[in-house]
């Protein structure tokens, strides 16, 4: 990969443990994410990948541990605060408004950036109109970037799955995030759709310098595009490092392939 300038640690996860009653979803997980890097979290089904993402995202409150974002340490955060700090995410099983157009769906991603209130927007008074034009222009850039111009006015529910995933990514990008959390962006896609998605992830990272944390199931894909990989298994971290190191790690191999004892 070209000399992408990877910066300082932007997100530091320390000793996170998460329990649901007696079930230990995550046990003492620590890793960091550097600015501008593509960081993957992999692991077999039920390893705790999505739980990890939900902790960073503020959806789950871990019982132990801390998360440091840009030098500020948090123990409890809600998802709105996280979003306001510049962390956006996509969802494993798409959470789009099926009946709304692609354009409107991505526009919802601008919600946090809108300064005018509902009243102004409804009556088109004050800065509302000018603001809408600015946001629309930004969204159009995303539509162009993701090459979905042909579907601008199409209701999302009518699009094939791979394109819906792209719209989901578009909505996250509309927040102009510093850190983008992608929850299985390639799940359920065919090979061609996966390649497209890989290209967009690399492009987002390259073009906007966005730091990307992605969860993925498909080892092959992850190894190709990530700078560093964390491997989880049964809620524990079993590996962390560059793709090649991780691939050679015996614990990772046994978690994925099983070993004979």
């Amino acid at each position: 990969m070209a000399e992408r300038r990877i910066g300082e640690v932007i997100l530091d996860v320390r000793n996170i443990s998460l329990r649901f009653g007696g079930v230990k979803a995550l046990t003492d997980i620590s890793f960091d994410v550097r600015e501008h890097e593509i960081r993957a979290i992999i692991g077999p089904n039920g390893a705790g990948k999505s739980s990890m993402l939900n902790c960073i995202n503020g959806v789950y409150q871990p019982q132990e541990g801390s998360i440091t974002f840009r030098g500020k340490t948090f123990r409890h955060m809600n998802s709105r605060q996280v979003a306001e700090m510049g962390v956006a995410r996509t969802f494993q099983n798409l959470a789009l408004f099926k009946g709304m157009s692609v354009l409107d769906n991505i526009m919802t991603g601008r919600n946090l950036k809108m300064k005018t209130n509902l009243f102004q927007q409804a009556l088109r008074i004050g800065a509302a109109e000018r603001e809408e034009v600015e946001h629309r222009a930004f969204v159009e850039r995303i539509i162009d970037f993701l090459e979905i111009q042909a579907y601008r006015k199409t209701p999302v529910g009518r699009l094939p799955y791979g394109l819906q995933k792209r719209v989901d990514l578009g909505r996250a990008l509309a927040m102009e995030p510093q850190v983008l959390l992608l929850d299985e962006p390639m799940a359920g896609m065919n090979v061609e759709e996966k390649q497209d998605m890989c290209r967009f992830i690399l492009d987002v990272n390259d073009e906007f310098g966005t730091t990307i944390v992605l969860i993925e199931h498909d080892m092959g894909v992850v190894m190709d595009i990530s700078d560093r990989v964390v491997v989880l298994d049964y809620g524990r971290k079993i590996g962390d490092g560059a793709p090649d190191e991780v691939r050679a790690n015996p614990d990772v191999i046994s978690a994925y392939l099983g070993t004979s004892h």
Partner: protein, 644 residues
């Protein structure tokens, strides 16, 4: 027309400075470039090219979709006496090697990263290629190859050059002559290397203007440029005629949005190959099937009216007032909305060319009030040779020779053309030039055809494929095959008859169409091979073949090639098995050899024949398919002498 492309540009900039010249949809909004703005842009790019050292008569490669700045780049090159060489944007990198070497190209102006990558890939083989400029910088930030720069930087350099060399542009224009070479188009030869077709400003503009006069085009036309600019058809419609008449050319947002953009622009002058018209019709039909019962009823009812009287109304023939009223109603309820959905509300003139168009398809568009016509021409003739006049459009001819064109038919049936728009030569290929251009200025088209009673040219086949029957009458296999293929149930056909006493044919059924047909009749079948050999299917195909025979009988010259016997093949002809070319043309010779036993059976009078064939699956495995094929005789008709 005694002018050059850049001189016409300046004229438009003077006469209609604020009128739109080009529009492009960017970030969802149509952006306009006026003639004055375009002229200013062209001057700057020309300045940049001058500073880079572009010499008169030097080739500049331009690769990309229809983009305003690429059009400006072509004009800029022409301003300095340079020769733009547009190449196909979807070609593989290796295909660029020959044109770049052949035309000794130093400069390339390309659209985006994709094209830059291809240029860089072949750079080692094309050491002359010194500078590459790109229009869209996306993804190119980290490229540091020598000589690679953005079009913006070229424009910047040109602005500085303009300041330090005032008057360079006008001087360069004054030095150019209409008989200088204006552009070179590489034709994709099916064998060997492509050939560079050399055209001057005069040849292109003369034909562009003749075509514009024929259809009374004005500066008010709207055109959508969506086919590859490297293809002379697009180049004539959106570049030569654009400058010759001063109309507006619209560039779609992306390849996938063409249909949406078409609807938004509503062009008045439109061009598309038959496959585009077919695709549009299919999408309409599919949507109609999903429509409500009332809409479907209205559609069916009024389409019947359209089929019956639409073409006659289009041709200006007398129609009873009751039918006129019905058609008028249909226009309100069905045809008008349909034209709008297709993006043809404002179309005054629409052309199709490139391959034969099915009569049903052709009539459909004419019957709903779209003035769809056919034309005949090629890269070598700067397109316009024959055009169909309004009110005289027929599905099986390509129109009358237009002003300046002379047509001569060889003994073999080959069509020879003489017009002011003929190519000057094939670049660096005097042998190929001599093969197609005769000493007294005729161009051999390689097509076989004849003029019908109304003076319309009828193309029947490539001249080299036209054979003779044993009795000496003309045998044009593709003409017959096309007629068969126009039936929706027939996917491919292969006709045999050269040096034989009768014509026989292989038929491939269209699995989807015939499958549906069988399902509706509760006809069970196990698969393609089984379906193809059903007696009911043979009966269905026999009716089609008989209709073709009846059609052929109406034509004195072709009546001898009526099909006497046919069989339905047990497998689909496939490019992977070498039976079709990659562009889905049947390889008649190869098929004849491969299925020799079947040909022998057809001519040997057998009523069935066993055949075993090896097939290649898409994953590379091979297998065999075997079947006993039935062979059927078909009724032929006596020649109908034409009244004329």
């Amino acid at each position: 027309m005694e002018s050059t492309f850049p001189r016409l540009l300046l004229e438009h900039a003077k006469v209609r400075p604020d009128a739109p010249a080009l529009r492009e949809k960017v970030y969802g909004i149509w952006q306009t470039l006026t003639w004055a703005e375009l002229a200013a842009l062209v001057k700057r790019i020309a300045g940049g090219l001058a500073e880079a050292g572009l010499a008169r008569g030097e080739h500049v490669v331009v690769v990309g979709e229809n983009r305003p700045r690429l059009y400006a780049a072509m004009l800029a090159a022409q301003s300095l006496g340079g020769i733009p060489v547009p190449l196909y944007q979807d070609a593989a990198a290796a295909e660029f090697v020959f044109p770049l070497q052949n035309a000794e190209v130093r400069f390339a102006i390309v659209e985006d990263q994709e094209q830059v990558d291809k240029m860089l890939e072949v750079r080692a083989q094309c050491p002359l290629l010194a500078r590459i400029w790109y229009d869209d910088p996306r993804g190119l930030r980290n490229y540091s190859e020598p000589g690679l720069a953005s079009l913006d930087s070229l424009i910047e350099a040109g602005t500085a050059y303009e300041r330090s060399h005032p008057g360079f542009f006008d001087a360069a224009l004054a030095a150019g002559s209409p008989h200088d070479v204006a552009a070179m188009f590489f034709t994709s030869g099916t064998t060997g290397n492509p050939k560079g077709v050399v055209h001057t400003h005069f040849t292109l503009l003369d034909r562009a203007a003749a075509g514009a006069r024929f259809d009374k085009l004005t500066d008010k036309e709207e055109v959508l440029a969506y086919l590859p600019p490297a293809w002379i058809g697009q180049n004539i419609f959106s570049y030569a005629q654009w400058l010759a008449t001063g109309y507006v050319v619209n560039c779609p947002e992306s390849a996938s949005t063409v249909m949406i953009d078409l609807k938004e622009i509503g062009p008045t002058y439109y061009f598309a190959p038959p496959r585009v018209f077919e695709g549009l019709l299919t999408s309409v039909m599919i949507r109609m099937e999903d429509a409500g019962a009332v809409k479907r009823w209205l559609f069916r009812r009024f389409m019947d009216v359209a089929r019956r009287v639409g073409p006659a109304i289009m041709d200006g023939k007398p129609v009873s007032w009751a039918d006129r009223l019905r058609y008028r109603l249909g226009d309100v309820f069905v045809y008008g909305p349909l034209r709008n959905t297709l993006g043809f509300s404002r179309v005054r003139v629409a052309y199709t060319a490139g391959e034969a168009i099915g009569p049903d398809l052709f009539t459909f568009y004419r019957s709903i009030g779209i003035n769809l016509k056919q034309l005949y021409g090629s890269t070598e003739t700067a397109v316009f040779v024959c055009l169909q006049p309004d009110h005289e459009a027929k599905a099986d001819t390509v129109g009358i020779p237009i002003e300046g064109v002379e047509i001569k038919l060889e003994e073999s049936g080959e069509i020879l053309v003489r017009s002011p728009g003929l190519l000057r030569e094939y670049y660096k290929n005097p042998q190929a030039t001599a093969e197609v251009k005769t000493g007294d200025g005729w161009y051999r088209t390689g097509d076989a055809g004849f003029l019908d009673a109304g003076g319309h040219l009828k193309i029947i086949d490539r001249a080299k494929d036209v054979g003779r029957m044993a009795d000496g009458s003309m045998f044009a296999p593709k003409y017959i095959e096309n007629k068969l293929k126009f039936f929706p149930h027939i996917k491919e056909a292969v006709a045999f008859g050269d040096r034989r006493d009768k014509v026989c044919a292989f038929i491939n059924i269209d699995f989807e169409a015939v499958g549906n047909w069988a399902e509706k009749r509760n006809l069970p079948y196990a698969g393609y091979t089984d379906l193809s050999q059903k007696p009911e299917v043979y009966e269905l195909v026999r009716e089609c073949v008989e209709k073709v025979n009846a059609d052929l009988a109406a034509d004195e010259k072709l009546a001898g090639s009526q099909i006497s016997r046919f069989l339905i093949l047990h497998k689909e002809l496939d490019a992977d098995d070498g039976e079709l070319t990659r562009t889905r043309k049947v390889r008649r010779g190869h098929i004849g050899d491969k299925y020799q036993v079947l040909v022998d059976a057809l001519y040997g009078g057998k009523s069935k024949q066993f055949i075993e064939t090896q097939v290649k699956f898409e994953d590379g495995r091979t297998g065999t398919v075997s079947a006993t094929l039935k062979i059927v005789d078909v009724k032929t008709f006596p020649v109908l002498r034409r009244a004329a």
